[in-house]
Every structure is written in structure tokens, then in C-alpha cells.
């Protein structure tokens, strides 16, 4: 929860709401880019970012992304984040 995980922005999904698709360790997830927004938003495509609980919080370079990913993988944080993303899908689908 406290450590961000590197994600690469691959598309802007909703410019008005500042939402983008990011790829995190091979998994796609919509994230908010409100905190790193710039003009035009599409210039974020291809950038690496640090994603915290669904929000891209900082733009980082590819080398930093790789180093961070390695450290997080060792800490088990990558799996934890991916599991949490999977949990979410289940939470959203559950109807009562």
C-alpha cells in the first residue's frame, strides 16, 4: 500500500477525467494521471510512472523503473499489488 509500483502509460482512456491505461508488470489497469497531468495529456503515453493505489504519482525514467521493479519484486510487493488488482475485479463483479 505504501510503496508505489512502476507502470508504463500506454493510452489515455478519458482525458476529461484524467484517466489512462497503464501496464504494470504485464497487467493492464486504468489509473488516474491527475497528479502528473501535463499538456497535452497524450504526451504521457510511453512514460514510466510510479503508481500508488491506482494513481500515477511521479514520472520516472526507464532505468529507475527497472531498478524499482527489481527491489519491489524481491520484497514481494509486485505480487501483492497484482493480487490486489485481481481482488478488485472480483469486488466489482460481486452482485448482491
Amino acid at each position: 500500500m505504501c510503496l508505489g509500483i512502476p507502470g508504463q502509460i500506454i493510452a489515455i482512456t478519458d482525458a476529461a477525467r484524467q484517466m489512462a491505461m497503464a501496464e504494470v508488470s504485464g497487467v493492464r489497469r486504468e489509473v488516474s494521471v491527475a497528479c502528473i497531468a501535463r499538456d497535452p495529456l497524450s504526451s504521457l503515453i510511453g512514460e514510466w510512472t510510479l503508481v500508488h493505489v491506482g494513481f500515477a504519482m511521479a514520472v520516472i525514467d526507464a532505468e529507475e523503473a527497472a531498478r524499482t521493479m527489481e527491489a519491489l519484486r524481491d520484497l514481494g510487493e509486485v505480487q501483492e499489488a497484482l493480487d490486489a488488482m485481481a481482488e478488485t475485479a472480483a469486488a466489482l463483479e460481486q452482485v448482491q
Binding site: M1, C2, L3, G4, R17, R29, E30, V31, S32, A34, C35, I36, A37, L50, H52, V53, G54, F55, M57, A58, I60, D61, E64, R67, T68, E70, A71, L72, D74, L75, G76, E77, E80, A81, D83, A84, M85, E87, T88, A90, A91, L92, Q94, Q96
Partner: protein
């Protein structure tokens, strides 16, 4: 635990370790009279154990594990209140997975869910918002937890809910801040702290200036650090060097991610949505002035405490910790987890007494996971 040869840049790690040993020597630090360095962030505590950094540095350097695990410091009363909210029939209670196994007075959110409460784990507060959109007939509550790293995400989520005019979404706010508990620790005459390794991702949001008081008013060095082994060791070296040179400054080892003034959009969102509570309770530390956030009046429609009449001001809140549990002392670095009489006896990851044993960032979980469990087994 990793060996130096397995690190990404083993030569760099070796040379920083050699430099640390030289400065520690020059300071006359020994196992009997160590330099005490507190790592504030639970993520750092986890990294120190996972990478075995506490074993790699000379014995004259002692890591004191700080209160920087937001799940660990969540008081039992707040967990109880979360469960009370979750048990309302109209409510879908959403939370980060970390909070599911934290014990309240009687049970955990996990146990409440097993007993029928609609508790759902989400990755992001945005997912809670989506649940509210999809379930207009239900009340969706998000369990807002964490330091300044997660606060902006919750703030922006509340702003979005307001902009969309959602009426079935609210936040149970337990956001806390990093500088205030540090001040409380520094004001405690029993604490022996020579310097700090500061949290990297919190600082990405707030920048480095909120730590100025540590250097200015308390004359202690603090170095904001990243999470890789090399980052942490370099930061330790920077703290030691400051001590040796008689300096007390705020330095930024993680400048490649942490801007001096933080993230302006995040800070503006936090300021718009939240204000400080006069004080907030920390498990094991008690009430700390100005250390917690609550929702401002203008967003009160999204405040679960207001909406459901729960929380601060809504009733008596004295909830004692269980007998023999030393969470507070561990959290403030007074003792190590192995010195807690409950470690491995009354308290294990499967049946925890304290949250420090179940959060991935808790010091007791780190000791358990990386070898600490052997000792009590041998003792029993």
C-alpha cells in the same frame, strides 16, 4: 536474506559498506555503544530485513524501527468502528487488503466478512467509487488509510464523487501524517535517536521541507531514502557522515523521485479535502496532536463519521491493548519484536495479537518472516 553478490550492483554495495565501516569506526560506534538510526517507513523496515542490511552493516549501527506502518498504528477502536460500519446491512465496506487481518477488540474485518458483512477488498479508492456508481441502492464506504502517499488518492476520489454528485459514497478517514509522530518521539526523553532515514514515497508527495524541524529544532540528521538496498545503505552513510562532521541537515538521497517541494497537485487536493484533527490516536503511542486528518465541512456529505454518527466525539473510546502485548514499545523502537513476551507465543501471523504481526510492513512480521521465528521456537 540476500548476499552481497546477488545485489544488482555488488561492487557499489561493497564500497558503500566499506565507507560505512570507516565512518562508524571514526565515530567509535560499537555493539555496546551503537549509533541509533531510525528508519521511519515500514517499507524500509521490510527492505532492511528482506535484504539482510541489518546484518551487513557493522555491529555499531543499530536500526530502530519507526512507527511508519499505517495499518500497524491503527487503534483497535478504529478497527471496531470499521467493523460496525461494515455490519450495517445497507453498506458495502471497501478496504485495502492490508487492513483485513488487523485485530479489533473482538474480531477482524476478515472475520466480520465471514460472518456475513459485505466487506470487499479493493486496490484503489477509485474502485470503491466505481462500486458506488454500480450499486446506487447501497452505501459504499471506503476505509481511508495511510500516510501522505495514499492521502492524495483518497482526496481526489472524494473530489470526483462530489463532482459527480454521488450520494451513496463516503470515506471513513484514518489518514495520518509522518512529521507529527516523529516530533512526539523526539520529545520523549527516553528515546535515544542519532539520526533518521526518511520515507521516500511519502516525501514524493510532501517534499523534504516538512522535516526541516528535525534538523533545525532537534539537531538530528535526516536523509530521505529510496527502497533499493543501495539507496538504504547510501542513506545510512549520509546520516553517519553528517554525525561525524557535526552537521544536522535534511538531505535527499532519492532526488530522482522526490522533488524538494513535493507534488503540487497532490498537496492541493489534500488541502482542499482534509483538515487536521486536533489529535488522533495511534495504536501503542496514544493520542498525538495534529497527527490525523478529517474531512472538511464542505465535503461533509462524504464523511462516513458524520453520515453514520460514528468515531471521534460519538462515544467513549478507551480501548486497552491486550495483556502482555508490547506493540507500543516495539513501534517506538524501545524494544525489538523478539523481546515482546507474546512474540511466537500468544502472537503469531495465524493468530495475531497486534497489527505489527500481520501487516507486510510490520516489524514483528518482518522478524517472523526472515528468521526471527526460530528463536521463540527454540525457547519454548
Amino acid at each position: 536474506m540476500k548476499y552481497v553478490s546477488e545485489f544488482r550492483d555488488p561492487d557499489a554495495v561493497k564500497s558503500v559498506l566499506a565507507a560505512i565501516a570507516r565512518v562508524a569506526d571514526a565515530l567509535g560506534a560499537t555493539a555496546e555503544r551503537p549509533v541509533h538510526i531510525m528508519e521511519i517507513c515500514g517499507g524500509h523496515t521490510h527492505a532492511i530485513f528482506r535484504f539482510g542490511l541489518d546484518k551487513l552493516v557493522p555491529p555499531g549501527i543499530e536500526f530502530i524501527h519507526g512507527p511508519g506502518c499505517p495499518v500497524c498504528v491503527l487503534p483497535r477502536a478504529r478497527v471496531d468502528e470499521a467493523i460496525q460500519l461494515a455490519e450495517r446491512p445497507e453498506v458495502i465496506f471497501t478496504t485495502f487488503g492490508d487492513a483485513m487481518r488487523v485485530p479489533g477488540t473482538g474480531k477482524t474485518l476478515m472475520q466480520a466478512r465471514a460472518a456475513g458483512a459485505d466487506v470487499r477488498m479493493v486496490y484503489s479508492p477509485l474502485d470503491a467509487l466505481e462500486l458506488a456508481r454500480r450499486n446506487p441502492g447501497r452505501e459504499v464506504i471506503f476505509f481511508g488509510l495511510g500516510f501522505e502517499t495514499t492521502t492524495p488518492s483518497t482526496a481526489i476520489t472524494v473530489q470526483t464523487a462530489a463532482a459527480e454528485g454521488l450520494t451513496n459514497f463516503s470515506l471513513f478517514c484514518n489518514h495520518i501524517t509522518v512529521p507529527e509522530p516523529i516530533k512526539a518521539l523526539l520529545d520523549d526523553p527516553h528515546m535515544v535517536l542519532d539520526g533518521f532515514v526518511g520515507p521516500g514515497h511519502v516525501s514524493m508527495v510532501i517534499g523534504t521541507h516538512p522535516y526541516d524541524f528535525i534538523a533545525r529544532d532537534y539537531a538530528k540528521p535526516i536523509v530521505v531514502a529510496g527502497f533499493e538496498p543501495l539507496d538504504l545503505l547510501q542513506s545510512v552513510l549520509m546520516v553517519l557522515t553528517q554525525i561525524l562532521e557535526g552537521r544536522a541537515e535534511v538531505e535527499n538521497q532519492y532526488a530522482r523521485v522526490v522533488p524538494e517541494h513535493g507534488n503540487p497537485v497532490s498537496l492541493a487536493a489534500i488541502a482542499d479535502v482534509f483538515e487536521r484533527r486536533p489529535s488522533f490516536e495511534w495504536r501503542g503511542l496514544g493520542e498525538i496532536d495534529l497527527s490525523g486528518l478529517r474531512i472538511r465541512q464542505k465535503y461533509r456529505a462524504f464523511d462516513a463519521e458524520e453520515k453514520f454518527g460514528i468515531g471521534y466525539g460519538a462515544g467513549p473510546r478507551e480501548v486497552a491493548e491486550p495483556d502482555g502485548c508490547a506493540c507500543g514499545q516495539v513501534m517506538t523502537g524501545r524494544i525489538k519484536p523478539l523481546q515482546c513476551p507474546q512474540f511466537g507465543r500468544g502472537c503469531t501471523p495465524d493468530s495475531p495479537l497486534g497489527a505489527l504481526m500481520v501487516s507486510s510492513e510490520g516489524a514483528c512480521a518482518a522478524y517472523w518472516q526472515y528468521g526471527g521465528a526460530r528463536l521463540p521456537v527454540a525457547l519454548s
